[in-house]
């Protein structure tokens, strides 16, 4: 039975000369718009199928449970897991917390050492920092210039007290893909558990828990055209069997690992998002990489002193992160205000510190301030990419005319040799 609620369809592009509708959303690493097919699947679970999936004795509960189990199958299928290995959470931040704190507590007798990397998401870094307060030892691996960790660094960091390695699959700022298969292999050879924050990777690139040697993986729905507030944690049950202590106590839902009444509509949405991703992934990743390269080539064809942050080879198809020398990121965002993108500039954060990810690559603070992250997604078009590229080019040219740094550089002054008053 279908509901009477209308599912909004993506609006057709209006012909405003450039064939694009403004504003343009190109910040798909922050969040993604929901796919209408996902919403359609979710809608019955708000009203008619409102039951509690934990109600075992009536049809309302069974209908909700059926929705949840279908979703579990779809997620498991996308990542090559067993349904019993999928634990639903409120999102990837909770999944990261559950994985890291859960392993830390469960394997405390075995050891107290955790390894991660400096470019991880704050959900991982801050969780590790908290564990340090509780007596755990954490190694924060550096990254190379291309954003990838050095596997030799990882090998050297491991000792007989190491219980967990947590390294993200794809970075949220620079889209760089870590060598997770090799990391997992090193971990398994040493009996260490491997967790990966796969928030940005799942649904975007092929991701298989067995093939990639993964023990724990964090998943988020809203980064893959699903709803916000729902995610999952993959917890391996065989070779090796991994256990995590719960961080939320209560009714013993999700095999005791995550208590709390299940967010049934959200879970159904996550499941549908996974099913769509599985079907569309090969074509979609090619299309997005094509659009991304088009954006890059158009910008770099017109502007000099433009630098790509992070490896181009090991990178999410829809991501590009570019520094525009002599132009401050926030002022650039202001000039392209009908385009939604992000900047690594300090001015866009409350801390007045530029992106720690870019700094970790060895990008100078000046270029970190000048960086823009473009996140191209499922609903972006070629016309939008061209519009964004042209708008960026015009704004950078205008701001460079306004930039004392550009003027000095053109006069042949090496900006590194200048004694700046603010230093």
């Amino acid at each position: 039975m279908s509901t009477d609620v209308k599912v909004p369809q993506p609006e057709t592009q209006s012909a405003n000369g450039k064939g694009v509708k403004l504003p343009i959303y190109m910040d798909n690493h922050a969040t993604t718009p929901m796919d209408p097919r996902v919403l359609e699947e979710m809608l019955p679970y708000f009203m008619e199928k409102f039951g509690n999936a934990a109600s075992r004795n009536h049809s309302f509960g069974w209908a909700a449970e059926e929705g949840v189990e279908t979703a579990r199958e779809r997620i498991a299928r996308l990542i090559g897991a067993n349904t019993k290995e999928i634990i639903f959470t409120s999102g990837a931040t909770e999944s990261d917390n559950l994985a890291i704190k859960g392993v830390a507590e469960m394997y405390r007798e075995k050891g107290n050492h955790i390894i991660t990397a400096v470019t991880e998401h704050k959900a991982v870094l801050d969780t590790c920092k908290r564990l340090e307060k509780y007596g755990y030892r954490v190694t924060y691996l550096p990254v190379q210039k291309d954003g990838l960790i050095d596997l030799d660094d990882l090998k050297r960091a491991m000792d007989d007290k190491t219980i967990l390695v947590t390294i993200m699959a794809a970075n949220n700022e620079i889209g760089v893909l870590q060598p997770i298969t090799e990391i997992g292999k090193l971990c398994h050879e040493r009996g260490v558990i491997f967790h990966t924050d796969a928030t940005q990777a799942i649904g975007k690139i092929p991701f298989e828990v067995i093939k990639n040697n993964i023990d724990l993986a964090s998943i988020s729905a809203h980064k893959m055209y699903g709803p916000k507030g729902v995610g999952a944690l993959y917890v391996r049950r065989k070779n090796p069997r991994v256990q995590v202590s719960a961080i939320i106590d209560g009714g013993g839902h999700e095999r005791g690992m995550r208590s709390g009444t299940l967010n049934v509509p959200g879970i159904v949405g996550l499941g549908k998002a996974c099913a769509i991703a599985q079907e569309d992934l090969p074509q979609e990743s090619c299309r997005l990489a094509g659009l991304r390269n088009r954006l890059r080539d158009r910008i770099m064809g017109k502007l000099d002193e433009v630098y790509i942050n992070g490896s181009m080879e090991h990178r999410l198809p829809g991501n590009i992160n570019i520094s525009f020398a002599y132009v401050e990121g926030e002022s650039l965002l202001m000039g392209i205000n009908d385009v939604a993108v992000s900047s690594g500039s300090a001015c866009t954060s409350a801390t007045l510190e530029p992106s720690y990810v870019l700094k970790a690559l060895g990008t100078g603070d000046d270029l970190a301030h000048s960086s823009i992250r473009f996140g191209i997604g499922r609903f972006n078009t070629e016309a939008e990419v061209d519009y964004v590229a042209d708008k960026v080019i015009d704004t950078v040219e205008r701001l460079r005319e306004l930039s004392p740094l550009y003027e000095m550089a053109k006069e042949g002054i090496n900006l590194k040799d200048v004694k700046w008053a603010g230093e």
Binding site: E328, S345, P354, L402, G422
Partner: protein, 137 residues
């Protein structure tokens, strides 16, 4: 973050953008901030040596919209003022005029610094110029 209309206006139509000859005796140049900090302002003034009135001002700024607006406003304000009057301009007046939020107050501070640095540079030129003119007599 939402910008005030005045910040947007200065960003879209910056006043007095440009450069003057920094070696000229009646031009004072202030270069403040650092690329690593995300803000660099260059503010230049041209002073009438007879009257000490700032007859022209130019700026170039690397920084956020608020930094661009602060320096653009600073050039508007110093023009027509004597050097001493210009020195009296306070960053808080810039904050008020542009409705800058707390996180952007440093932009106004930098603009005040730029005015002071430009005037300081000009004054230094006047002092070093004196002995030369004395010798020339």
């Amino acid at each position: 973050m939402a910008y005030s209309d005045k910040v947007i206006d200065h960003y879209n139509n910056p006043r007095n953008v440009g450069s003057m000859d920094k070696n000229s005796a009646d031009v004072g140049t202030g270069l403040v901030g650092a690329p690593e900090c995300g803000d660099v302002m260059k503010l230049q003034i041209k002073v009438n040596p007879e009257t000490n009135v700032i007859e022209d001002a130019k700026f170039k700024t690397f920084g956020c919209g608020s930094a661009i607006a602060s320096s653009s406003l600073a050039t508007e304000w110093v023009k027509g003022k004597t050097v001493d009057e210009a020195l009296a301009i306070k960053n808080t007046e810039i904050v008020k005029e542009l409705s800058l939020p707390p996180v952007k107050i440093h932009c106004s501070v930098l603009a005040e610094d730029a005015i002071r640095a430009a005037i300081g540079d000009w004054k230094k030129k006047q002092e070093t110029a004196k002995p030369v003119s004395a010798e020339a007599k």
